[in-house]
């Protein structure tokens, strides 16, 4: 396959950045999208140009490091698939492909397609955990968890923190990411004691990081490589309403 790539190049946070066109030839349909970029980078290096910087690590769709907007789609055209697992057989010979970084104020561009997603870490640090210091745990079978709840918690826990939800959201909101963790921990008995302080802390951290507000547009769940359902946001909303109603500190609730 021969393709024309239009890639966002930006040498650093201070640079304005621009789309630059590169032709690539002899691409195998069995290559992954990132392997196609590897091929480009090998050629750029030998031609004395700087290769395109992009985040990637496991290349099997689980670490959440990779992420780029391909023809306007976060992670590209195939649903339920990260950029690293997207294969070139989903493109046609001669196609022009636009490749851009995640665009959000909370995810500033570091270089080319690499963005800084530490805002997600700050949201987790603001409450996305169960306080269970090492050694303090009761026997694992002390508290059974209904299978339906365990399964739903798992579904939400599958989030890989890639940030595609933010990239696709017309509002630049990180609510799906935040809601996935709130839902996972809120569905488990272990997460109950901190349920309301958690949601308040995480939503505050989300807003402080500069993400936009959620309008339930649903673009996030459509591009989510792990299919985190939009209903998690309903759970977050419900917990948030309850938490703001009683600030989570009323004893006996």
């Amino acid at each position: 396959m021969n393709l024309t790539l239009r890639i966002w190049r930006q040498s650093g946070p201070g640079d304005k950045g621009r789309m630059v066109t590169y032709p690539v030839a002899d691409i195998s349909p069995d290559m992954s999208f990132l392997e196609m970029l590897d091929v480009l980078n090998e050629r750029l290096t030998l031609a004395g140009e700087e290769p395109v910087a992009f985040d990637h690590d496991c290349r099997e769709g689980i670490c959440g490091a990779c992420g780029m907007v391909i023809n306007g789609n976060a992670h590209g055209p195939q649903r339920g698939t990260t950029a690293c697992q997207l294969h070139m057989r989903h493109f046609t010979d001669g196609e022009t492909i636009d490749i851009e970084p995640w665009r959000a104020r909370a995810f500033p561009v570091v270089k080319d397609l690499v963005v800084d997603r530490n805002a997600f870490d700050r949201i987790i640090a603001a409450g996305g955990y169960v306080t269970a210091p090492t050694g303090s745990a009761p026997e694992a079978h002390a508290t059974p968890v209904a299978k339906a709840n365990a399964d739903a918690a798992f579904e939400a826990a599958a989030c890989i923190g890639c940030g595609a939800c933010v990239a696709a959201c017309p509002n630049g909101s990180g609510m799906l990411f935040t809601a996935a963790k709130v839902t996972q921990l809120g569905l488990l008995p272990q997460g109950q004691p901190e349920r309301y302080t958690r949601v308040l802390g995480m939503v505050d951290a989300h807003d402080e990081a500069g993400f936009g507000g959620c309008t339930n547009a649903g673009e996030c769940t459509a591009v989510c490589p792990k299919g985190i359902p939009l209903s998690t946001i309903g759970r977050l909303n419900r917990d948030y309403l309850r938490a703001t109603a009683k600030r989570g500190d009323t004893p006996g609730t």
């Binding site: 700087e50 690590d57 099997e60 670490c63 057989r89 870490d121 640090a125 399964d151 488990l188």
Partner: protein, 645 residues
């Protein structure tokens, strides 16, 4: 010149003797403690944020130490532990199927082909029970039964169901549990997190590990960081083979730099090759993808009986198929341990029976399982794996059998540590895959997660106190001659890499190195092959320093420069791996020497000569490594020939 030299024997002096069941208790009692008020005066550096590093940093923070944590990824949550699929072992005996701490201990020593320490393995089995409790308390969504209790499955040839799992994403869920605990400590101010920072050198002052030199991967800034102890949790070195199931960024640099500063490297040749990976499809391939071993519970492995048979698999009649694992190992069939399944696949492919465009693949067929259980049941068990396979290959495994081939997956070797997980450099602790300690010559399935978390949550936080009790040590600053020298080394190396400005890319060298290693130091090794490999590695390394091209500069994010530094270290490690493989004239676990096999092609150990840990001392880049032997004794599990017939 000799390839290696004999050195003095080495011994693990911190392991208590006496009954194995009480050793861990007695060690904890004998170890000195650090008063809670003094802990905040002590700083610990932790490199790596996977299961071992993440859990250690979080736990040390909870205890009140000042922790500085480093990872090269953009977030601690991305460490490669996240990709572990299958599960985590624990001797809970929830199934009432005869499991016990002793049985897990026994299975692990035997599975490691009698090349691990009984004391360590027993401790691992004991602690396994607490890990599950800890993770459940953190909200890890393990699979559960309808009654709400934890589900377990049998894994990797174990005859008891002791593997806890969270669908095919157990590593992810356990890592996120540790990551969340870590983030909690970051918010509490006990842990300072430095993501996108890579450790490039160890600083040793007055014989103690006192700090590291790190490069900020975004700004390129080099800095020297100090502490009272340094913990390496930087994972394994499978990427020396270029193609492996490791993440692209996995590297040996942290441990290799420590090795060059005096930490012995133990058993580097023990490499685990995983039998069920998606085969290579072309020269551009950048990594290999593992398909969970659990697939072998229901899939049947076969190749055509006729060589070079290129008919579509469904057109090959039953009597023209060779279900070779079932034929050769009737007792275990498709569930034989990883090393055996891998080598069997290599052998059938080498003899011309391989399938797929490259001839390097065997079928893993679910037709029988679908016929027996129905498509829905198979989908419930393996749906996500089947989807992943289809995404990558474009083939539907419900209709066409999967093609699989072995790939490098895990490295049992690593820095030598004593029972306290301390290396030969005082104050340098090594945990998780980065050390060599618990798996011997072969790791059992679902034991990596167990070891990482055991080290990080329960072992290290206890043992490190014994060392830190002597601290705080005299303050060191960036002007200390050792610190200045370490920093200058790093800067010089980076400058040299950038200055070559040759005509080959880093990846092209890495790929070539990987081919040499896979060919000669992979699933099957020979004396002649290893000697040839050492020559080729040296020649290629020389080429590398003359012809590599690293574009850009060191003042900003430069992924090519990062890669170049890692590949440079892989060259040195690769040579040591071959030397280790060459000197070990026996076959055991993940090390198979063609000269040492039973008449029917099984690994033949030589307990008389090789029941020891080979701990290698670095003496200079062009000088032979020095071999220190740590003898292994077996009081509880007596060495026997593994048999899965």
């Amino acid at each position: 010149m000799d390839l290696w030299q004999e050195g003095d024997p080495i011994a693990d002096t911190t392991a208590p003797d006496g009954p194995v069941e009480t050793r861990w208790d007695r060690r904890r009692f004998a170890a000195r403690l650090v008063n809670p008020a003094n802990r905040r005066k002590l700083t610990v550096i932790v490199v790596g944020t996977g299961l071992a590093g993440g859990s250690a940093a979080a736990t040390l923070g909870e205890l009140g130490y000042r922790v500085k944590s480093y990872c090269y990824q953009d977030s601690p949550r991305r460490a490669h532990s996240i990709a572990a699929q299958g599960g985590i072992n624990a001797a809970k005996n929830y199934r009432n199927d005869g499991d016990s701490v002793h049985r897990l201990f026994y299975d692990t020593v035997k599975g490691g082909d009698f090349r691990s320490r009984e004391s360590n393995v027993h401790r691992l089995a004991q602690v396994s029970v607490e890990i599950i409790d800890q993770c459940v308390a953190q909200g890890v969504p393990f699979a559960r039964e309808y009654g709400g209790l934890l589900d377990t499955r049998s894994f990797g040839g174990a005859q008891v169901q002791r593997t806890f799992y969270a669908r095919g994403q157990t590593g992810q869920q356990l890592l996120l549990g540790a990551y969340q605990a870590l983030e909690r400590q970051i918010a509490a101010g006990t842990v300072e997190m430095n993501s996108r920072h890579e450790m490039l050198e160890l600083v040793v002052v007055d014989g103690r590990a006192r700090g590291i030199v790190v490069r900020d991967l975004v700004t390129g800034e080099i800095s020297t960081e100090f502490a009272d102890a340094v913990v390496l949790a930087s994972g394994g070195y499978g990427n020396v083979f270029y193609l492996s199931t490791n993440a692209k960024g996995c590297n040996v640099t942290a441990t290799w730099r420590a090795h060059r500063k005096g930490a012995y490297f133990a058993n580097p040749c023990y490499t685990q090759i995983h039998p069920t990976c998606i085969p290579v499809s072309g020269g551009y391939q950048s990594k290999l993808t593992l398909m969970s071993e659990s697939l072998r519970n229901d899939g049947r492995v076969w190749v055509p009986k006729a060589k070079g048979d290129d008919r579509a698999p469904r057109d090959i009649p039953e009597n023209e198929r060779d279900y070779y694992l079932e034929r050769m190992y009737p007792a275990f069939g498709n569930l034989v341990p990883r090393d055996i399944a891998s080598r069997a696949a290599k052998n059938v492919c080498d003899s011309g029976h391989g399938v797929g465009p490259t001839g390097l693949g065997v079928y893993l067929d679910f037709a029988d399982a679908i016929g027996r259980l129905g498509r829905n049941a198979v989908e419930a068990r393996y749906g996500n794996l089947f989807e992943m396979y289809e995404r990558i290959t474009g083939e539907d495994p419900y209709r066409v059998p999967m093609r699989i081939y072995p790939a490098v997956h895990y490295t049992m070797g690593g820095l030598w540590v004593d029972y306290d997980l301390q290396s030969t450099v005082p104050g340098l602790f090594v945990i998780g895959e980065a050390n060599f300690s618990d798996h011997g010559a072969n790791r059992l399935g679902a034991s990596a997660l167990m070891q990482g978390l055991a080290d990080g949550y329960f072992v290290l936080p206890n043992t490190i106190a014994d060392y830190l009790a002597a601290g705080p040590f005299a303050p060191v600053d960036a002007n200390h001659p050792e610190a200045v020298a370490a920093r200058a080394d790093v800067e010089d190396r980076l400058a040299r890499l950038l200055a070559v400005d040759g005509d080959r890319t880093v990846d092209s060298f890495h790929r070539e190195l990987g081919q040499i290693m896979w060919e000669h130091c992979g699933m099957e090794r020979t004396d002649a092959g290893l000697r040839k490999a050492i020559g080729e590695i040296r020649a290629l390394r020389e080429q590398f320093w003359q012809r590599v091209r690293v574009p850009g500069d060191g003042e900003r994010l430069n992924q090519a420069l990062e890669k170049a530094g890692r590949v440079a270290d892989f060259f040195e490690l690769a040579e040591l791996m071959c030397v280790d493989a060459l000197h070990r004239e026996e076959s055991c676990g993940g090390h198979f020497r063609a000269e040492h096999q039973t008449p029917d092609g099984e690994a033949q150990r030589d307990d008389e000569r090789f029941a020891y840990v080979a701990a290698w001392e670095y003496t200079g880049s062009d000088r032979p490594a020095v071999l220190h032997r740590e003898n292994l004794t077996f009081e509880y599990v007596h060495p026997s020939q593994r048999s899965y017939k």
